[in-house]
């Protein structure tokens, strides 16, 4: 009589492009999930050897320690400018600029808009956690109205410092970008969607299409002063209505 044999198959493990080292991020920080998604997409597209990651200033300043691809560090906010240079000199590579909200929308607003407007053939991963994490929880361009931070202890007051900036909608007024999508990493469902968007953004570069922008809402439990699962609920209840998820452009 034939006997059943049970085989073990590993169906989820560390992607090759993600270094086997502990990361320095706080417990429950979205950066770890986003790094993993990037590494999975790089592996699946087989572009590890030809990818250049431009690391930002902010909590993910050490991203090059975790993603096993070529890299370059940019001064605060200048990642898209550095990425522009790299991509123009090495058109056959896949160049990713990985940036937080302070980097991309405060000190680097000009670089962000002009790289997008020129249609540089790069992929921008914008990690929006509505706060400055690394420097201790100050108000960011994307902090919500009434959100309390170290520098807005009574809540962000738009009459004083303006409303949160919606990067995807802003860039969607420009002609050149080929792909703009806002995602989140608050649940398995949104994470899988975010992975599809990153895949598309990278594939656009492999196919030589043009500028792709992927905004990812990400938890910063430490900056928000919350437990990680509380941070997930806050993001879904408070951030998503201000920063609606979805694709704005896919050409």
């Amino acid at each position: 009589m034939p006997v059943d044999t049970v085989q073990e198959k590993v169906v989820y493990e560390r992607p090759r492009s993600l270094a086997d080292v502990p990361n320095h991020y706080c417990p429950g920080c979205g950066h770890g999930i986003i790094h993993k998604l990037l590494a999975q997409c790089i592996d699946e597209l087989g572009i590890q050897e030809s990818t250049i990651l431009v690391a930002p200033v902010g909590c993910s300043v050490l991203a090059y320690n975790y993603l096993r691809v070529d890299g370059c560090e940019a001064a605060h906010g200048r990642a898209p400018a550095v990425a522009t240079g790299l991509k123009r000199v090495h058109p056959d590579t896949t160049v990713i600029s990985y940036q937080g909200d302070g980097d991309l929308l405060a000190i680097g607003t000009a670089e962000t808009i002009h790289a997008a407007n020129r249609g540089e053939k790069i992929t921008v991963i914008f990690v929006n956690n509505a706060i400055y994490g690394m420097t201790g929880g100050q108000m960011a361009p994307t902090s919500l109205q009434a959100q309390k931070t170290k520098t807005s202890p009574y809540g962000r007051n738009p009459a004083d410092v303006g409303f949160p900036i919606r990067a995807c909608e802003l860039l969607n007024t420009l002609q050149a970008p080929v792909f703009i999508e806002r995602c989140a990493v608050s649940s398995v469902k949104t994470i899988l969607k975010a992975k599809r968007a990153i895949m598309k953004g990278l594939r656009n570069q492999v196919e030589g299409k043009g500028y792709s922008f992927i905004e990812i809402l990400s938890m910063c439990p430490t900056g928000w002063g919350m437990e990680p699962r509380e941070a997930v609920s806050w993001m879904e209840a408070e951030m998503v209505p201000v920063f609606p998820l979805g694709n704005l452009r896919d050409r």
């Binding site: 989820y12 429950g28 649940s187 699962r229």
Partner: protein, 77 residues
Amino acid sequence: MSRGRAEIDRERCKGCTLCIGACPEKILAMSRDSFNRQGVPYAECFDESRCTACMSCAIICPDMAIRIIRLVTIGGE
């Protein structure tokens, strides 16, 4: 339904509990009286027989502390 198990590397776990919220079978919990070398409780599976290898816990883990093994039955009748 497929079967499997989640292999949790307790030394990589930072105790964020995101996997516990994500598991549809509700079979993950934080260790009660033991801590890893970072000094935090870590995620554990207390009923492997109910694991469906759905990967939810691994997908949400920000620290890549979880590997998923699926049990595949071959042959037989």
